[in-house]
């Protein structure tokens, strides 16, 4: 028996490709049918390959099986429909005309069209991310539940409701027209941004799954750069942002799986290739007149790839946050801006600004205040960190804060 190795994640990748094409072929009302047929295709492989050997061209084998299963399914559905509504005349050769096109081009087109269909404002962001993971990334329900730190039932319910909603709304699986593309693209980018963040900031301890979420988000953004109507500066900017963040993957966790803060990371572990790619995409993003929030965030992330503390670095970061906050306020951006202010203009000014933020139920707020007061007023600093500790939810956050309190007692100040 000739054995060969399967490419890692081959089934997951091909599941997503087959599902997208079948969804496109069947229409939005039949997403589940497409998922079922794709799933059956891989079971068919499991029922055959171990005994007969892996075929010379595994992907071609899968596509042939998927096509046949799809055609049989259509025929069966037609027979079924014919039985209950025999007066409906169906053209005898409808089935023959129905072709499942699994060419590279149609796969890419179908995936992009599904991306737009899934990122539809009628369903929640959480459901959009879940459906994207299922249909565009080929994740199982278990794996999605794992990533979201919830159970299968919750995810199943969430996905069912989302499929139902897309059916009700009669969402079309097609590229949006040129007029609508900006608005639709913006929703898609938000979802992919959140998908990436889900992986990057998730509390799940499973480092593998977290990284994979990020890589999948990057793959989907990359897909958008391959299509001429979505190859836009903000798309490149988002991709750049993701590359810069992902470059720190190897450095941001220690062997015990605990988060290592940016300041304490070993920068020799940063992935220079990804940083280079990020810089390339950021350059590609800078062609038009549009500056999106992704541009600003990507530039902030770029400055963070330079470990050395220079006035130039923190002044740039400060100005970028100043602009980002005008685009879109978020507490975390406000806190980061204040941190940058401290590094650029000094702690006293930052303390005055920080006191105006009034984010009194945010533990990061008190972490920041603790940092700002340290060195000048250690008692106040400790109070703030204690306050942060009482507000922190996750063990990882509490751990980090406890370390800071311990550091304070040792007289070590993080800021100059």
């Amino acid at each position: 028996m000739e054995q060969q190795e399967l490419i890692p994640h081959l089934f997951r990748t091909e599941f997503s490709r087959i599902t997208a094409v079948l969804c496109q072929a069947f229409g939005i009302a039949h997403i589940e049918k497409a998922e079922d047929i794709a799933g059956e295709t891989f079971l068919a492989a499991l029922e055959t390959w171990p005994y007969k050997g892996i075929p010379a061209n595994p992907v071609a084998w899968l596509y042939t099986v998927a096509k046949n299963k799809a055609k049989n399914r259509i025929l069966r559905d037609q027979l079924f429909a014919g039985k209950i509504a025999s007066h409906i005349k169906r053209s005898a050769n409808a089935n023959e005309q129905f072709d499942i096109d699994l060419s590279e081009k149609n796969i890419a087109d179908s995936q992009l069209q599904m991306l737009f269909a899934i990122c539809h404002s009628s369903i929640s962001k959480e459901a959009q991310i879940g459906l994207a993971l299922r249909i565009l990334c080929g994740f199982g329900i278990d794996e999605i539940a794992h990533a979201f730190l919830t159970n299968k039932e919750t995810i199943n319910k969430r996905l069912s409701r989302a499929r139902e909603k897309l059916r009700e709304e009669k969402v079309t699986i097609a590229f949006p027209g040129e007029a609508a593309i900006s608005k639709r693209l913006s929703t898609v980018l938000t979802t992919l941004y959140l998908l990436f963040n889900e992986g990057y900031y998730s509390e799940s301890h499973d480092a593998v799954i977290r990284e994979e979420l990020c890589l999948e988000a990057m793959r989907l953004v990359y897909l958008l750069t391959e299509y001429e109507y979505t190859r836009r500066p903000e798309v490149y900017a988002l991709l750049a942002l993701m590359c810069f963040h992902a470059s720190r993957f190897p450095a941001r966790k220690n062997e015990a799986g605990e988060i290592i803060l940016y300041d304490e990371q070993d920068e020799t572990l940063w992935n220079q290739e990804l940083i280079g790619k990020g810089a390339f995409y950021l350059h590609e993003a800078s062609t038009g007149l549009i500056v999106s929030k992704y541009h600003l965030e990507a530039q902030i992330a770029y400055w963070h790839t330079l470990k050395a503390d220079t006035t130039e670095k923190w002044e740039n970061i400060l100005q970028l946050y100043n602009r980002l906050l005008q685009f879109e306020y978020s507490p975390i951006a406000a806190l980061n801006r204040t941190y940058a202010l401290a590094r650029a203009n000094g702690k006293q000014e930052a303390i005055a600004e920080a006191e105006k933020l009034k984010l009194e139920n945010n533990h990061y707020y008190f972490v920041l205040l603790g940092e700002l007061y340290s060195g000048t007023d250690d008692t106040k600093s400790k109070q703030c960190l204690q306050q942060a500790l009482s507000l922190a939810h996750t063990p990882a956050d509490r751990q980090t804060i406890l370390k800071k309190i311990a550091g304070l007692n040792g007289g070590r100040a993080a800021l100059p």
Binding site: L6, R12, A38, G39, F42, A45, Y51, G140
Partner: protein, 120 residues
């Protein structure tokens, strides 16, 4: 040396497995079979797809055909391999390595194949 059939009984994988999981099982199954073959004890085997399966059943005087082997039992035959072994115990040792057994409630049934030599 006798031949034994190892019969896998498990649930239809459709509802439980992700593509990634199926790929993991694929490798495990191939490595398991490869390990038996490396001892020159592997005879053959096959998968038995669940889809489009039928059961013909005697119900009173009538024969009833139903879709699929499913009914009262959740687990059903998903495949088999045939191995050579000196004893049922040796065949059982082979069976223990089956990835099918990772699923709770799944079974591998070990049955000697009749030789038709007048003894068995």
């Amino acid at each position: 040396m006798d031949e034994f059939m190892l019969i896998f009984r498990h649930m239809d994988g459709q509802s439980v497995a992700s593509p990634e999981q199926i790929q993991v099982w694929m490798k495990q199954t191939m490595d398991w079979i490869g390990g038996i073959a490396a001892q020159n004890k592997y005879v053959g085997g096959n998968g038995l797809p669940f889809d489009n399966a039928r059961v013909v059943k005697n119900v009173g005087e009538k024969l009833v055909v139903t879709n699929g082997p499913f009914g009262e039992i959740k687990e059903t035959i998903g495949g088999y391999i045939v191995v050579k072994a000196e004893s049922a115990e040796e065949a059982v040792e082979f069976a223990k390595g089956s990835p099918v057994l990772q699923g709770e409630g799944n079974t591998v049934e070990v049955r000697r194949i009749a030789k038709g030599d007048g003894v068995h």
